[in-house]
Amino acid sequence: MSTKTADKGARNLLRVFLGVWGGLTLFYLFLAWRALSWDPIFFIKNDDSERSRVSLADLEFEGESETIAPFKSAIEHGRGLYLRSGCALCHGVDGRGGVHSENYAKDTIPNLDNMVDKLSIWDREDAEKVIGLLAANQSLDQIEELDLPDAMIIVPKYTVTRDVIEKGGKPGKKDLQGPPPLNMQAWRDVLTRRDVNNILAYLLSVYQWEEE
């Protein structure tokens, strides 16, 4: 084999090598550009369903009012505590209830999505005012002049509810000789007063008001 032929062979080999290497580099650069510039909205096609848009959505309060919006973080805190501390185990996700407790007088553990009713708050505006106070960790019984029309009823009911959370409660038995139903434990060693107020603010916020 002559030197000339060998040189030509080497040059061709180098060309092939550079071609492959260049191609791979370009492909890699394309992938890198696509990954860096990728945006969900850009890749959702017109024939994709609305469900594709979940990738665009962020955690938002649906239908939140302007009054509640400033307290979002405290309500979120309450919601997180409600879910992760274990309240949802018995009282249901979002306070929807429906959990059966053996030998419990009422059969089903109380739902809490009607906290507004439990505290005898009849007006949406009043509920939002109470949510604001609780989200700011202002215990209703500590406020000297509470600007609510039914404060005389709301405050004692709030105190009783808070006490049940903090001190626990013994649910009534259906059959007195039967096994004890699931217990409402005392949460004062686990949750602070702020935590309890934030949970109550969250529970008040989940109430479904009828459209006027």
Partner: protein, 172 residues
């Protein structure tokens, strides 16, 4: 050693290894859970998945409840609800139950439970199957091709629901 013996020895090794792996697979002990958790009993009293798997609606990962979560209802000294001895042991020692993770999302993929459950309104059973009726804890066989099946079912569901199948919507 003659060629014949080498073939015999190699065949024996393959048969023993293969048989052993088949037995392991048949016994379903790829992943076994430390406590015999019956999903069906918990669902039957009205508990929802996300009250224990608290991240299912809120986060990327569904999560596993802590021992203290079980302790809210299960008190070993009480007859109701009954506390299995292996759970009682963890409750007494206040140790976390070493639950084994069954579903693993590869590092090159992104999966958000919140997007599927809360925003997409998917039932847990759409991906996890009929867990609600199981009276034994979930386990995983020694050999599984679930990884590929999972990807196939993801794509099939995205196509069915006309949700984007762009690679980068899941693979980051």
């Amino acid at each position: 050693m003659s060629k014949k013996w080498i073939i015999v020895v190699l065949t024996l090794i393959v048969v023993i290894l293969g048989g052993g792996l088949l037995v392991l697979n048949a016994r379903d002990n790829g992943v076994r859970q430390p406590v015999a958790f019956p999903h069906n009993k918990h669902v039957a009293i009205g508990m929802s998945c996300s009250s224990c798997h608290t991240g299912a609606r809120e986060g990327e990962r569904a999560g596993i409840p802590l021992t203290k979560t079980c302790a809210l209802c299960h008190i070993p000294e009480r007859s109701s609800p009954t506390t299995p001895p292996e759970l009682a042991q963890y409750l007494k020692s206040e140790e976390e139950i070493p639950w084994k993770q069954l579903y693993r999302i590869k590092r090159h993929a992104y999966f958000s439970h919140r997007r599927h459950v809360k925003l997409g309104n998917l039932e847990c059973s759409a991906c996890h199957g009929d867990v609600e009726s199981k009276n034994t804890p979930l386990s995983r066989p020694f050999f599984t091709t679930a990884g590929q099946k999972m990807m196939d079912s993801c794509v099939a569901c995205h196509r069915k629901e006309k949700v984007t199948t762009d690679c980068l919507s899941c693979h980051r």
